[in-house]
Amino acid sequence: MENIIDIMHLNKSFGSHEVLRDINFSVKEGEVVCVIGSSGSGKSTLLRCINLLESPTGGKILYKGQDILDQGHNLNTYRTHLGMVFQQFNLFNNCDVLSNCMVGPIKVLKRPKEEAKEVAMKYLKVVGMDRYKNARPHQLSGGQKQRVAIARALSMQPDALLFDEPTSALDPEMVGEVLKVMKELANLGLTMIIVTHEMEFAREVSDRIVFMDQGIIVEDGKPEEVFNQPKNERTRAFLQRA
């Protein structure tokens, strides 16, 4: 299958602090990759570099074979191909649930309103939030907000979804409903890159696990391999703690 994202020799530093060092990895179409590792290991930064919310200080990012760090590449168009789900949901506070899912398709993708509404309702149904279409973000619980955020990302019909610790800001009883939705999406064959602390979930849904520590990818392999026979000492230590 085709590679959607190829990352080559990616570096990122904030000032003199190196957060990512020589990162190499690719994501194939339909693959679910979970990125795990302790706090401060650079997982979130890696994810944010992929859709260029952070600009890398070195290396290449290829999207379907095209170098997107190339001058003249339209970043905004590129970002429409990747959906992002944030830890803090970041729903647009000025829009209700339905508009949150429609504003991108209408204003950025220039889709007709009717079509955008149809697509938005379809994905709101997938995440089970269609009955809340007229609710405002502040009227929803954390889990509901995150499900709307997932629907918003899906409504752009992206090639891949990026999840940045989607359940870390949720109350324990709401984690389940979000993970359930994400599992369904994985079963639908969507390409997903998930930064998470939910080890059980990672083991269950992912085709590949990437373990990061201190800004480098320490281990990259099938979940059974990484969880059952980790090659690296650091991975072992982390998994024992987790």
């Binding site: 990747l82 959906g83 992002m84 803090q88 991108g104 204003k107 009227q139 918003r152 990302a153 752009m156």
Partner: protein
């Protein structure tokens, strides 16, 4: 002073008072609306992210310096002086014979704009960075982010400050009598000049200013409340759904 005098002044001069009040309201309203627009546009420009291209960076720097000069000039000088400078200056330097009403609206607009620029800047800073990131993540450019996501929230947040500015404008248009705009203060001065009842005439003006401000305040409060919305969302089929969840 007696009550009869009072009533007599109102009865004899009410068309003039009303014309003055109308003019005051018109100038203050137009000034506040255009001032707010100026403030929003400056807010958008001030928050444009740094471009990679050098030419764009330099250009943006120049624009931002010009805007700072504008804000500092109009915030740093009294409106009464600005009125004189703009009205007589435009005639002397550019040979434009400005319509007085237009001049008045222009001065109040640019003056309000200078204040609103700062209010909007504060409003944009107060918006959570996650809103900007979420907008960028779905591919919005700076303009789209501002217009569809950030500014609607900013406008809601700055509504109380804008109301304040509006009320100040209603009162401060009185200084425009120096360029002969027929607003409420100017009209009252004319009336008092005819009947020599200064206290009574200006007391009527006082009441008119107050009525205008109370009405404006109430209207804007209504909008504030309306924009705040409900704290909870009532699902019509809430119970049904809960039952459904338990069953599954």
């Amino acid at each position: 002073m007696s009550l009869e005098w009072f009533i007599e002044i109102i009865v004899n001069n009410w068309p003039m008072f009303l014309r003055g009040a109308w003019m005051t309201l018109l100038i203050a309203t137009v000034g506040t609306i255009f001032g707010a627009l100026i403030g929003l546009i400056i807010g958008i420009i001030h928050t444009i992210p740094k471009s990679k291209s050098r030419i764009k960076r330099v250009f943006l720097k120049c624009v931002s310096i010009i805007l700072s000069v504008y804000v500092e000039f109009f915030r740093g000088t009294p409106m009464i002086v600005q009125a004189m400078v703009v009205y007589f200056g435009s005639d002397l330097i550019f040979h434009i014979d400005m319509n007085r009403t237009f001049a008045a609206m222009f001065i109040v607009s640019v003056n309000t704009g200078a204040y609103m620029a700062e209010i909007v800047r504060g409003g944009i800073i107060s918006i959570d960075n996650g809103q900007f990131e979420a907008a960028r993540a779905i591919g919005m450019n700076h303009w789209q982010t501002m217009v569809h996501v950030v500014l609607p929230q900013v406008m809601r947040n700055i509504l109380p400050a804008t109301s304040n500015q509006y009320i100040m404008n209603i009162k401060d248009t009185s200084v425009l009598n120096v360029i002969g705009v027929t607003e409420l203060f100017f009209q009252t001065k004319t009336i008092a000049g005819n009947n020599f009842r200064y206290f009574e005439s200006f007391f009527v003006a006082c009441i008119l200013y107050m009525i205008m401000n109370i009405i404006v305040t109430q209207i804007l409060r209504y909008f504030e409340r309306k924009l705040a919305g409900n704290a909870t969302y009532q699902l019509i089929d809430n119970q049904e759904m809960l039952r459904g969840q338990k069953a599954s």
